[in-house]
């Protein structure tokens, strides 16, 4: 298997606080990879480094064999590497369909094509994906009036609308009502299987990540603590200690 994201010795410090120290990991093409770790272990910092939200101090990040650690957010997004936010970000003053249509992949669009209306196919795609995440009934409601869980689903659908190659999901199930979580896990698996999107997921819910990922990395105090299959991770004494605060 070849890696679509290749991270080598990445370090990032905020002043004296080292958020990421010499982290190396690989996300394999077409798989679902998990990233876990206690609060403050540097997971979101690593995500932000990957998508170009801030410059890294040292190391290298490659996406499809292209060095991306020195290029900017929009340029990285246009390579097909899209992220969702931990604090869900949607366009609250627009309805769901409008939110979807704005998320059309601009990297596949020439500038002059922006001066046209959305095609019937665009509308169909938007409806199809809203149906996929279960928001079809609410598609004409203002996104801001949806519940937090539904907003998360909408953000996920928007990311899919962008036709990414790789999707970085920051806690996709946080704040979602437990009955909805199973449905979401199922959709994440389907997005990976049916649309062929590589997923790299930060998750706190162990049951979710164990069902989802084939390979899991665990961070603690900014360093890579352990890696392996869900089974390995669950039985790793260091991971258990880290979560219990012994580390």
């Amino acid at each position: 298997m070849n890696s679509i994201i290749e991270i080598r010795d990445v370090s990032k410090a905020y002043g004296g606080v080292v958020a990421n120290k010499d982290i190396s990991l690989d996300v394999e093409q077409g798989t679902i990879t998990g990233l876990i770790g206690p609060n403050g272990s540097g997971k979101t910092t690593l995500f932000n480094s990957i998508v170009g939200y801030h410059p890294i101090d040292s190391g290298s990040i490659r996406f499809e064999d292209k060095e991306i650690s020195r290029i900017q957010v929009q340029d990285i997004a246009r390579l097909g590497l899209i992220r969702t936010f931990q604090q869900t970000r949607i366009y609250k003053a627009m309805n769901c369909v409008e939110n979807m249509l704005i998320s059309l992949p601009h990297r596949k669009m020439r500038f002059l094509e922006a001066f046209s209306r959305n095609s019937a196919t665009d509308f169909e795609n938007a409806d199809r994906l809203l149906e996929f995440v279960g928001l079809y009934e609410k598609r004409f409601l203002m996104a801001g009036s949806l519940s937090f869980g539904q907003q998360k689903l909408l953000e996920f659908a928007m990311a899919l609308m962008n036709e990414p190659k790789t999707l970085l999901l920051d806690e996709p199930t946080a704040g979602i009502n437990p009955t909805l979580i199973n449905g979401l896990v199922d959709r994440l698996l389907r997005a990976n299987r049916e649309f062929g999107i590589t997923l790299f997921v930060i998750e706190h819910n162990m049951r979710v990540i164990m069902n989802l990922a084939r390979k899991i990395y665990c961070l603690a105090h900014g360093e890579l603590l352990a890696q392996g299959t869900p089974g390995d991770i669950q039985n790793d004494q260091r991971v258990i200690d880290a979560y219990l605060g012994a580390h």
């Binding site: 998508v51 957010v73 929009q74 997004a77 246009r78 899209i82 992220r83 936010f85 970000r89 949607i90 366009y91 609250k92 003053a93 627009m94 309805n95 409008e98 249509l101 704005i102 998320s103 059309l104 992949p105 601009h106 990297r107 669009m109 500038f111 094509e113 922006a114 001066f115 046209s116 209306r117 959305n118 279960g134 009934e137 609410k138 004409f140 409601l141 203002m142 009036s145 519940s147 928007m158 962008n162 009502n177 009955t179 909805l180």
Partner: protein
Amino acid sequence: MKSGKLVLYSVAVLFTLLAPFIMPDFKTQLATLWLMIIVALTWDMTGGQMGYNSLGNIFFYGTGMYVAAVICIALTHDVGSYTNAFSDQVYVFSDAEYFTGVMIGILGAGVFCSACALIIGYLTFGLRGPYFAIGTLGVAIAAGELVSNWDWVGGGQGISLPVFPYDLEQGKIFFYALFAATGVLLFIFLRWLYTTRFGAAINAIRDDEEKAEAMGIHTLRYKLTTWSIAAFFIGVVGGISAFQLIHFEPLETAYQTINLGIFMVVCVLLGGKGTLWGPVIGAIVFHLFKEVTWNYLLGWQWVALGALIVITVVYFRDGIMGWLMSVKPEWFGIRVEKKSEDAMQEAGT
């Protein structure tokens, strides 16, 4: 609703065509009304639709005036000696020279301002929120000061342009027609633009620019394009104003930051930011209010205007259109979910 819209647009078109003949004493007032509508609509392109509150759009108005005047003069005369205050030479423009100068001057003003917006935008679009407002205000003030010290364009004296060659009443209709045509063109253009993907992209920038970047939208490109289109139209009306006013000077007429520069923002806030009709309605209400108080409340007119601004900002933050939208959302195709239904759906899922 469909037929309602048709009636509305027919009335608007009829009024636009007939107004200067129905109210012959108010031709210049009506032309100024169109000026207010145009600057309000262009301000709303960045301020309302894209979320970038510029206080420096007046820069394009002033620059448009100067560019149009300089082009008109330079076509037939030497600008330096024309604007020389100590010269006693008389400069004559033939009818053909006048009208070519007006047309090329106006268009040149638009194109020049468009290019200026690309350059200034490139430098200032890194600023967000109030910093962008102050940054652009600084550009406008600095430009006014620089131009008022530039003798080649008349310095603090400004420039006097040739007078309309025929009957002056016809001249008033001529300038009304230029303003109205620009306004109608702009309105039709924006009505179309806001329904395209371009419109959606600038709305995305307004609502959450970071999200728009994370989704791969070329934010800088959209911001520059929007502002340069706005600047084109402001430059054009600046050019028309220059010929309409015949004489203008830099600080009070051209780069009038505290008058027109603020009025355009007030018009939009009054009418409703981020809507197509808001700036139009706001400009009409504002202009009427201003003219009425200037005539009947003389001495207190600025106080009344200040009160209007305060009341708008404090009590009607969404403006007239925003207020209508919250009272009658169904008129605008906005669907609102009833609370009880919401609770049922929530329990069902």
